[in-house]
Symmetry: C2
Subunit: 329 residues, 2 copies
């Protein structure tokens, strides 16, 4: 009997999902990217508000990551108009908005786009309900809107809890792939604006808790001011298990290779951001800690056509995928 392909579900959004999907797409697996639906900034936010479409930005990034289509498509999907009525709008976002308008259902629209982009994997929104991400901080203040939370770089203030306004229900297709997954990969990417916005959709935490899939957390490399300032590896695990249940994670992947001191200094100067400190042993909670060199050797990737500034210190998609695949196969 032919061995069935393993099914992996990634949970996230934005650049982090882009990295993990770019690597995993090269393996013989059944790959499903579950994507947060709370992006509210720039072109994405405008299209969402003006046209009533799903926020296209994170969907677009996941589709491009999984695309096996010609270079033209990948260039088109990351092209941003520079003048006139379309200024600041990304072509991929416009494309997704148009296809959503002409198709019957939102998932059909995404699947059609995936077909055109010849993706090796599916992209599935965590929810189809329109909602706003809100963050309540330790000082009692509340910020509404993912992009506003993202842009908040007040030092020394940490997020107490995140919630959706109004609350949102899980997309049944996302539920289906999660229930059938052999493994789930959480992160990398912004903890509070890419990963957790999936986990606070009604029902998601419970479903993930009871499914048998191996649950793998990829810990970020760098802290993010206003969100994960001073976070260590243990903080990431604790935060994620707040939503999934204590002891839910089976594996936690931590980078073991040090970036150059110069680069680390540059981060401190520009972003006031530190490396995430590895403060755990061989296990933490119930998770086994997997340490490996998953650091990208490319020091810099320019990206004028995309709103997301690429980190100078970032994961290598292939190295990361190799570690994940080894845990799953």
């Amino acid at each position: 009997m032919k061995k069935q392909k393993k099914s992996i579900v990634t949970i996230g959004g934005g650049t982090g999902s882009f990295v993990v999907l770019s690597g995993l797409k090269n393996y013989e697996i059944d790959l499903n990217a579950v994507i947060a639906m709370t992006d509210s900034g720039g072109s994405t936010g405008k299209l969402r508000d003006q046209l009533g479409v799903l926020p296209p930005g994170d969907l677009r990034q996941a589709l491009v990551a999984l695309s096996e289509a010609s270079d033209v498509w990948r260039k088109l999907f990351t092209y941003r108009f520079e003048a006139g009525d379309l200024e600041g709008h990304n072509f991929g976002n416009i494309f997704l908005s148009a296809i959503e308008k002409i198709t019957e259902s939102n998932q059909e629209a995404i699947d059609r786009a995936a077909e055109i982009l010849q993706t090796s994997g599916r992209v599935i929104p965590i929810t189809f309900d329109k909602c706003t991400l809100c963050a309540e901080y330790e000082d009692g203040s509340v910020i509404e809107g993912e992009s506003n939370i993202d842009e908040n770089d007040t030092l020394g203030v940490s997020i107490k809890r995140l919630f959706l306004k109004p609350s949102a229900s899980i997309n049944l297709e996302a539920k289906r792939v999660i229930e059938r997954a052999d493994a789930m990969v959480f992160g990398p990417g912004d903890l509070y604006t890419s990963l957790v916005p999936n986990l606070i959709v009604s029902g998601v935490g419970e479903i993930i808790h009871y499914v048998k899939a191996k649950k793998i957390l990829v810990v970020n490399l760098m802290a993010k001011i206003g969100q994960t300032e001073n976070f260590k590896v243990s903080d990431f695990i604790n935060e994620v298990e707040r939503y999934l249940g204590e002891g839910a994670l089976n594996y936690v992947i931590v980078n073991s290779k040090n970036p150059s001191k110069d680069l680390v200094e540059r981060y401190k100067d520009i972003d006031k951001a530190n490396l995430i400190e590895d403060d755990v042993g061989g296990t933490y909670s119930r998770a086994k800690i997997i340490r490996a060199d998953i650091l990208s050797d490319d020091a810099y990737e320019k990206s004028s056509s995309d709103k997301v500034r690429r980190s100078l210190i970032r994961h290598d998609p292939d190295k990361l995928a190799k570690v994940i695949y080894k845990l799953v196969k």
Copy 2:
């Protein structure tokens, strides 16, 4: 030896070209659509001015006419956004603008779009030079801009001459396909805002005059106020031969079937437009007059997504293509 496919070049733009291409694409021919580059209205005009791209509207219509791709693509290419920053912009126009921005040459951009749309034929701009269509009227007045000329519905004023400002040179690829054509089809469509804008590009009249291709004029069904008011078949032939040289046309296709009286009356009421009167015999100038039922039986086609109002009295793509193919094969 395998018989080589006949090469047909259509010259025009807009809805007229859409009709003739939709029919001809079903034949085993080498089909090339040469398209005017003077459209200046609506979404097309804005994108042209704001982004410095080729006016996409007529290119888009020709590409859709020739497309064999799935219905999704055809729907996408005719979809027009209804709100926000993108309001009034057609997705196909945006697509062509984006692809032009990311490719090296304009023709490559169009060919890439054609590949994606799986067209059975090529779409070739008559010129890559940016220019404005100007009309000088019998009363000495001048109107600049194709859309302004199009919208001028002053009764009893006729166009004395058309010119481009600044003058434009023929695209070498257009020259190449014209020189190799077995047949050329002029029209149908707006004489002064779709057909003649091709013929006044520098060099075009002379090249068409000396090539051996069979030259076929498809005469319009209805007159257009402000342009071809009171025109008869002989006027169309005379006007086209002004640019191509007297006696240049080999065949002139004239519809022989009368539309219903009701429809004709509706045109008179709404558009103050008459049927083009057939005032010629078996030949005119040096052209043989071909009369056939090429009238569409569909009385009405709604088109909210496109700026071009579909005529109620119009050519049937298949009937028209059959007559043309018979003259060429």
